[in-house]
Structure formats: C-alpha cells, structure tokens
Symmetry: C2
Subunit: 226 residues, 2 copies
DNA sequence: GAGCTCTTTATTGTATACAATTTAGAACAG
DNA sequence: CTGTTCTAAATTGTATACAATAAAGAGCTC
C-alpha cells in the first residue's frame, strides 16, 4: 500500500489494539485524518480494510465504531480458529520440510526461553508464538486459508489479556508446540491436527477464565467507587 | 452502501461473474468509472470490497486484475467450504426452529420442482439452493462464520459451470437437502454435519469432472483451429 | 540485436471542494 | 414534562484536480 493509506491503517489499528480507542467508540473520518496527519481519502481506505478485518463495525447509517465483541463472539472466533488452524496443521504435516522444522524449533526455543525464568517475557513469547503459527500456516500453502485466518488472529482483546496468562499456562503452550514439532517430524497429520485443535481450545479457556476474573475485579472496583 | 459505490460494486462484480471480464484481465479505475457512470472514488471503494472477496487480485505495484484461480485454489476453497458449512450445519441443528425447518422444506421443494422434469431449470435450482444454504448459515447464528463463508461461496467459476451439471447430479443434491432437513428435525448435529460435508465435497467432484471435460473440449477446439 | 538510460504516457494515490445524508438540539404544542 | 417538528451542525459520499509512481517506448551504446 501507499504511504498515507498505510500510515492511516497502522495508526488506527494500533490505537484500537492498544485500547487507546475503546470498543464501541465512534470513529469520525475527519478526526482520524487529523490524528494521522493525512486527508480523509486514505483514512477511508484504511477504515475499509479495518472493517473487512472486523476491527471496525458500521452502523446501518454508515457510521463507524470500534468493534466490541461479546464473549460469545470471541468463543465463536476461537471455535473457527481451532477448526482452521487444525486444518492448517494437518496440511502442513503433509508438506513439511526439514528447513521449516528447523525454523519452528528455533521459534519455539525462544518461546521456551521467554517463559523459563520467574518473570516470563510475554512480548517475546507472543512474538515467537506468532512466528511459529504463521510458519505452519505458510507451509500449509493455501492462500485462502491464510486469508480467512488472518481475520481471526490478531484480536485486540486477546493481545491485551495475554499479559494475564500465568507462567504455567505459557509453559504449557511451549510444550504443545514441541508436541506439534514432533508430529510434523513423523508426518503424522491427524495427530498434528488434534494437538493444534486442543492447543487453540485451551487458549480460549485460558482467555475466558482470565476474562471472568477480570470482570469480577471490575465489579469489585465499581462497588468500591459507589 | 451508498448509491454510486453500490452501482460500481454490483456492475463490476456482475461483469466478473458473468465472464464479461475474464480471469487475468487488467482493471483500470478510470475505464471502470466510465462504464459504471460514476467517478473513480466509488470505483476504488468497490474494488477494495471485491479485493477483500478475492474476486480481484492486486499486483505488487497496485495494479488490479480479475482473479484467476487454479484448480488447486478451487479445491482449497471447496475444502474450506466443506469444513465451515459442516460447522454451520452442526450449529444449526442445535438451534433449529420449526419455522426455519418449514422454510428449508419450502426452498427444497422448489429445488425439487426445478429438477424433476426433463429439462432442469438451473437458475431456479441455484436460487433456491442458495436460499437453502443461507438459511442454515443464518440459523447457525455466527456473524463471523457467515462472513468467512461469504468469501467462499459466490465463486464466479462455479456459477458459470453450474449449467454443466447433469440432471442426476442436481437430483442427488435435492435428496441430500432432504436428508439434512431430516437430521435437523431430529436435532442430530453430528449427522447434519456429516451430510453437509459430503454434500459440499461431492459438489467439488462434480465441478472438477465438468471442468476436466470442458478442458478436454477446449483442447480439441484448439486443435481444430490449428 | 541485446541491453541500457531517459523521456513520455498512463495509472494510481492524495487532497480538497462540494453534495447528500444523518444527527443533535431548539422551538413549540399538547 | 413529553413528544414532535423543524432547523442547524456534523458527518459521510462523490467528483475532480493535481501529485506521485509505474509502465511503455524512443534513442543510444556496445
């Protein structure tokens, strides 16, 4: 993409993912244009892209808002992600190369290092976790699958709550990656799929639990303020 | 969407689906704007939408072309569609209402009528087939699933080859719909999913066979011209 | 003629002005 | 006070002019 349009896209996206723009917030083109330092034209372009990624929702009368997801919506997204990443793992197992396995091992090594100490390095974990999953997706060699999953990963809410994962949960994730690598080495497509589906489902339950305890904390907070 | 933008979207889309614009054709904004009778702005808007639906592909340097799909790409799309429509059927079975079942029966009745004579009415078949599948999707009640599938259905190539389906194949489709309805009535989610997955996979094989014989005909045609 | 650079032309990207639509709120009736 | 209608402000949609970039091709060198 071009410069101004890209600037707008990344700026707005970052504001949504970081939470600077909260779910439900209204988005006016002119205001965003000023923030991004470009005209409305590239902003509109960027908003279209963000809308197609479901980060932005449009009202019946064409006004835009930051998408707000119910827990049900999020569960849906995870269910679909489990299905599609499972398929990606199955396909990848059949097409896997030694080179890709070496890279997966390298990524997961860094994942392991990020969680081995007392204070896990969540940023490093997330970064290498993403590389790990993206490489599998790329080996699966289906542009369409890649495109569908792109909509489901990179969810703002998930990034923001990742920091609430416990060290034990992060380590579990690391182990499951290792199991995946083992399945890939053996070319065991069914097993790779099974592990991946479980891996994603577990991530959802971790998320849901964290979400619940956060909600409880919020409620307590509200009570204290009242 | 707004008027001009919608006009552009539907006009271009129709040209792609009908084949007036062939796969691989270059798409210039100005030219399309003239055809649609609007300015470049809404055309660009429409092209973004079509791009996100994968009907348009963009080169590294931002030039646009009508997407051309290899048989592998199409097989991918069908594989994903089977997976996702299977999930839709499973979910729908759990949430099905008497009203929806009545509507499904009505749609499939028309499907049956369209294929019972000697000369099947393919347009009517396709229209009610689409209604049938869309209603299941809507009962499945997952905006995200709906959005993902939207990208996979409505494939130009498939619409164009639908006319090559044999009467027997169309009738088989009708019967499978009836089996689905029966599964929904019993609330049998697993069975509904199984039928749906088979239904979509069979559609692919039908397509692939038709495609092959068309390709053969093409080659014969080329030979005669040479 | 192959390959290179430079110029010309075509195409896409951006800003901006204006039109159409929607929202918000004032003024008013009951 | 409630609800309604109308007006003004804000917001989005479209056209168009111009800027930036990419493609095409002329002319040159070897």
């Amino acid at each position: 993409m071009s410069r101004a349009s890209d600037t707008a896209y990344h700026t707005i996206r970052e504001m949504i993912i970081s939470g600077a723009l909260a779910p439900g917030d209204a988005l006016a083109e002119e205001a965003l244009a000023q923030i991004c330092g470009v005209s409305r034209t590239p902003v509109r372009d960027a908003m279209r892209r963000l809308e197609s990624e479901l980060l932005i929702r449009r009202s019946g009368t064409q006004r835009s808002f930051v998408a707000d997801w119910s827990l049900d919506d999020i569960q849906d997204a995870f269910e679909l992600r489990a299905l599609l990443e499972g398929l990606a793992a199955k396909r990848a197992a059949a097409l896997m190369t030694d080179d890709a396995i070496a890279k997966l091992s390298a990524f997961n090594k860094r994942v392991g290092e990020a969680v081995e100490g007392l204070n896990p390095d969540v940023e490093t974990f997330l970064e290498n976790n993403r590389h790990f999953h993206n490489l599998i997706l790329s080996v699966a060699d289906s542009a369409r699958l890649e495109k569908l999953l792109q909509t489901l990963i990179e969810q703002p809410i998930i990034w923001r709550t990742a920091h609430h994962y416990s060290t034990a949960e992060l380590r579990r994730s690391y182990q499951e990656h290792d199991e995946l690598i083992a399945a890939f080495k053996r070319g065991d497509a069914e097993w790779a799929e099974t592990i991946m589906v479980g891996h994603i489902r577990r991530a959802f339950h971790t998320y849901a639990d964290a979400h619940n305890s956060l909600a409880v904390k919020d409620r307590e907070h509200e009570k204290r303020r009242a």
